[in-house]
Symmetry: D2
Subunit: 314 residues, 4 copies
C-alpha cells in the first residue's frame, strides 16, 4: 500500500479495498480482471453446474417469487429516462377465420428502467470500465462493442436475502442510511445464513414499499449499502448484488464528494452485477433467506443492462 | 376422423377442424374458459408447486441452455415491426470519483420481436379473445386492460423437446411443412419421452438455423405444427408450445383460406401460450428431451407478449 | 330550425350552430363535406394562389416571427404522451478526412406534443370523423388510411391575431375563461382588423406565458374559445384556428357534460384545423394583427397531426 | 499549388483541396467563424429583412411547391437509422358528446431521415465542429449543448434551383457523378439566373426520381456536388445548399480516401446548412429557377437536424 493510497484512505473519500486488497478505487491496479484481460463476463464466470445444483437444493417447496416489478407508465425513472408502452390498432389477417392480432410499441432506456440488471458496460471510472476497457474503445452508437449484456448468460445460483430492515427493526430504512458491514453480518447471523462464493445476494431495505406509492420520495434519495459493505460482498465472491431500491447503494453517498462509488467498485473493479428495483418484499415477508435465484438477461446486443423478471424459488 | 380425435371432441373443449381437417372456429362454445369467466391467465393456471418440483427433478447435471436469441438490429421482423437500440453519449456524474454511466435507448414492438412469448391478448377470433373477451372491452391505447402479459407470472415447469427434424431425418424441415400428430407422437416414442399436464412443449424444426443466416427465407414461410397437432397438444394440457420458427405453426397454413389458426386455437380457445424464435438447437444437438423450462415474462403492464431469454436446465 | 334542434338547444348541451346553420353537433347532417364526399383536406381547400398573394401583401417589413415553441424534455404533455430526444455516440466515417457525424433519436406522439397542428383524423364524434369517415374504415395501426396529415399541403395565407388578453386588459386570461363571440368581435374592432375567407386566425390568451414556467398550471386547465366563438370563426370560413394554449378551446368546457366540443366542431364538422401551443407573444407584444402565416405540416404518412415551427411574416 | 488554388487561398476562407484536387482539411485556420467565436447560427446570420423582401419579390404567381417528401415506413434510410409510425387505439373522452381522439407514435432519428435539414452539430472534422467547437464540449446524451438546430431560426429568402440534370441533357445524373463548378455556372447561365449572398441554392440531379421506386439504387451511391463546387457555392455566401439526393454531395467522393468532405466544408468550415432528399422535381418540371424558399426547422432542442416540408413559392 503506497503512501498516496494511505492518504486517500485518510480523506475518507475512497475507503474501498482494505484487507482483501482487491477492490480499491485509488491508485492501485484493478485490471486486468482475475478472469483475464479479455474477459467480458466478470463474476458470471463464477457460475458453474455446481452452483446450479446449489440452486436446485434450495427448491424445497416449489414456491416461486417474482422479483420483478411491473413496468408501467408513471413508474419512477432516473434522470431523463423514459418508458412508453402503447397498443396500436389491431392488425386483421386475411382469411375466413378472422384472425386479428395486437402488438405493443415500447420505447425507453430499457436496460436501465424499472427492475434492472446492470451490466459491465453501464458504469465506469473516468474513461475506464470493467477490465480496463477504455470507453472510446467499445462505446459506440449502435451498441457497445464489448461488455454488452448479451455476454452475461443465464444466472442460476443460490440466492441469499439479507433483511437489513428487519435487523434494524424497521419496516423501511431511512434515506440515505448507509448499510454497514456489521449490519450485513449481524443480519446474516440472526438469519442463520451464510454467503458462499458464486451466490447472489439481495439486500432488503424496505425502500421498495414506496414504489408507485410515493415515487417522489422513492427517487429523491435511498438507503443502501456502503462502500465498505460493497467491498465485503465483493470479498465474498458473489455474482450479483441486488436490492429493493433504485441503486443498491446509498444515495447520496456518505462521502458527499463522490457519486455511485459502489457501482464503480462492484461493476468496474470486480465485475459484479447489480440488480435494482427488486420486489424483495415477498421473500422478506415469508422469511425466505435462501433460495434459488434465476435470471437470464435479455440478450440485447450491446446493451448496458437488461429489464426482466428475476425469480426466487424455494 | 381418428378415435383420438373423437375423444377430443368428446371433451367439448376443442371442436376445431372437422371432416375437412381444417379449422371451423365459429360454431362451438369456447368460452367461458375452464378456469372461469374472469380468468386472465389461461394455462398458466396449470402451474403448481408440484410442477416446480417436476422441473427440479429434471436438473440432474446443472447444465443451462439459453433458449433466447440475441436481439439485434437486422434480425428478422414480422410485418411493419421494428427494433432499434442506440447508445447515447455517456452521462458523467458529479464528484471526484469520476463516475460515468451509459444507458441504451430501445424502441420496438418488444413483446412481438425476436424471441417472443405470446400472451392471451395477442391473437383473437374476430372481435373475441381468450375467455370471450371482446376487443372493444380491453384493447386501449395505454395498454390492454385485460389479458396483459403481467398476469402470466413465472413459469417453472417440466419442458419437453420434440425434435421433429431429427425424426424426419433432416437438419431442417421444409416450409411450409405442416407437422402432424403422428410426427409428434412418433418422435416422442423414438425419444422415449411423454408429455404430462402442465408441461411446456418445444418443437424443434431446424428452421431456426436460418436466423441471421438467411433472414429472407426465414421470414417468407415456415414449417410448423398443424391445427391437428395443436389440438393434440392442447388435449395434453400443456402450458406453452414453443418452437424455433417465427410462428410455431406452419405458414402459410394448410388451408389457404385461413391465417394463424393455431394461434387462435391455442391462445384464444385454450389459453395456451406460444413461444417463438427459440434457440432450440443446443437441446437438439445434445439430445436433451426433458428439462426444466424456466421463463418469467417481463411484467409489461398491458402488453401482448414479452421478450426474454427462457432457459432449459437439465 | 327543426323541433328536434330546438330541443337540443334547450338542453344546453350542444349549443352549436345557429344562424349559419352549418355547424351543429346534434341531429343535423354535417357530412358529406362542402368539398365533396371524398374530400380529405377540408378547409385547406380554401387555400389558393390569391390567398398566397394576400399573404405576400402582408410582408411589408420583412420581419419573421417563429410561432413554434422549443421541443424539449420536460415540456408540458397531455395525458400519457411522451417526448424523448437523445444523442447517440457519434459515428466516425472512413477516410483520412476524419468525418464524423451525430444523429438524434426521438420518440413521442409527435403530431400531438408541443406546438402541434391537428389534422382531420385527430378528433371525431363517436365513430365518425371529418366527412363522415367511420373510424373503423380508416384508423389502422400503420397510419391512418384517410385524413392523414400528408393531405393538407402547405399553408400560405393571411393570418390574423386576435389579442383577447389585451382586449380584456389582462396579461393572461384566467382558466377556464370561455372566449365569447363578443370578445372576438370587440377585439377585432379595437384592432381594426377583419377576418377574410381563407385566413388563419390566432387567438392570444396569454396562457402561453406559463409554458415551461409553471407547467402544472398550464396543463391543468385553460382559457380558450367557446363553442359559439368556434362557430363564428367557422362561419368566417377560416382555414386554421390557433392559440397559445394547449387546446385552442376552454378546458374544461362551459358545459360540464362535454369534452373538446370545439375540436369536434372545427375538425370533424367543418374541416378547420387547429394549431396549439403557439408562441403568439411576439406578435402580441409588437401589435402585429395581420401577417403572412406560413406552415407546411410534415408529410407524415397517416399521422393525425404535425409538429412544426409555423411562422408569421409582416 | 495551382493558380486556382492560390486564388482560393486569397479569399482566406476556403483553403480546401490541393494539388490532387481533393480536400486537405487540416492546415488552415477555419475558426473562429466570421460571425465570431461564440456564434452558433453560421450562415443563418446572412438572413435579413432585406432577404425576406427578396423572397417576397419572387412570389409573382402565388404558386406553392412542397419540397418535402412523405415520411413513411419503407423509405430509404441511411446506416442503422429507423423510422416507425403507429396509430395507437383511439382515446375516448368523457362526456355525452362522444369526443374521441387519435395520436401517432413516432420513433426515429428524426433530424436525419427523409427530407432532412443538417444543422451545424451534425458533421465534424475529427473532434472539431463548426466554429471549432470540440465534440467533448457540446455533445451530450440529452441533446447538443451547442449548435442545436433550435438556434437556426426561420429561413425566408430567395431560392435558386440549378437544374444540372437538364444542363447535362439527362433525366437523372449517374452516380457518383461529381458536379463541377463549370456544371453549376453553365446551368445558371443557361437558366439566366444568378446567385446572390444570402440565397438558398438547390441542385436538381434527378436522383430523387428513384425515391420509393428503387430504394436500393437510391441509397447505394449518389451524384452530387464536388468539393470544388461546394467551395464555389460557399464563396457565393449562400445559406443552404439542398438537393434531391441523400447527401447533396457525390457518394462515394472523387477522392476514395475521404468521406463526406462537402459536409465538412459547408457545415463545419462555413456554417452553411445542407438540405437533403428534397422533392425538386416540381420546380425542375416547371422551369422555376428563382423562388421564395421558406423553411423553419423544428425547434428540437439540441438536435443535429430537422425534418420538415420546406416550400418554394413563386
Amino acid at each position: 500500500m503506497t503512501k498516496a493510497r494511505i492518504a486517500v484512505v485518510a480523506t475518507g473519500a475512497y475507503l474501498i479495498g482494505a484487507l482483501s486488497g482487491t477492490v480499491t478505487l485509488g491508485q492501485d491496479k484493478w485490471y486486468p480482471s482475475r478472469w483475464g484481460a479479455n474477459d467480458q463476463r466478470g463474476a458470471a464466470n463464477r457460475l458453474t453446474p455446481a452452483k446450479v445444483l446449489d440452486a436446485k437444493a434450495m427448491m424445497t417447496k416449489g414456491a416461486v417469487y417474482q422479483l420483478g416489478r411491473v413496468y408501467e407508465m408513471g413508474m419512477p425513472l432516473f434522470g431523463s429516462r423514459h418508458y412508453s408502452l402503447k397498443i396500436p390498432y389491431a392488425f386483421p389477417m386475411p382469411g375466413k377465420n378472422q384472425a386479428i392480432y395486437h402488438d405493443e410499441l415500447i420505447s425507453g432506456e430499457l436496460g436501465q428502467i424499472g427492475t434492472q440488471f446492470d451490466g459491465l458496460g453501464h458504469v465506469g471510472i473516468g474513461e475506464l470500465f470493467y477490465n480496463g476497457n477504455k470507453r472510446s474503445d467499445f462505446a459506440v452508437a449502435d451498441g457497445l462493442k464489448k461488455l454488452g449484456i448479451e455476454n452475461v448468460g443465464a444466472i442460476v445460483t443460490r440466492g441469499v436475502l439479507i433483511d437489513v430492515a428487519k435487523y434494524k427493526n424497521v419496516a423501511r430504512l431511512n434515506a440515505p442510511y448507509s448499510i454497514s458491514v456489521a449490519d450485513l453480518t449481524g443480519a446474516l447471523q440472526r438469519q442463520k445464513v451464510e454467503i458462499r462464493p458464486g451466490d447472489v445476494v439481495l439486500v432488503h431495505t424496505g425502500w421498495g414499499s414506496l414504489w408507485m406509492k410515493d415515487n417522489a420520495t422513492f427517487g429523491a434519495s435511498s438507503p443502501g449499502i456502503s462502500v465498505a459493505a460493497g467491498e465485503w460482498l465483493a470479498s465474498k465472491e458473489v455474482v450479483v448484488v441486488g436490492s429493493d431500491n433504485w441503486g443498491v447503494e446509498a444515495f447520496p453517498s456518505q462521502d458527499p464528494n463522490v457519486s455511485a462509488p459502489v457501482h464503480q467498485l462492484l461493476l468496474a473493479k470486480n465485475g459484479i452485477y447489480l440488480h435494482e428495483n427488486l420486489a424483495t418484499e415477498g421473500l422478506a415477508r415469508d422469511g425466505v433467506y435462501e433460495f434459488a435465484y434465476i435470471f437470464a438477461p435479455l440478450r440485447l446486443k450491446g446493451a448496458t443492462g437488461s429489464p426482466g423478471n428475476p425469480i426466487a424459488i424455494r
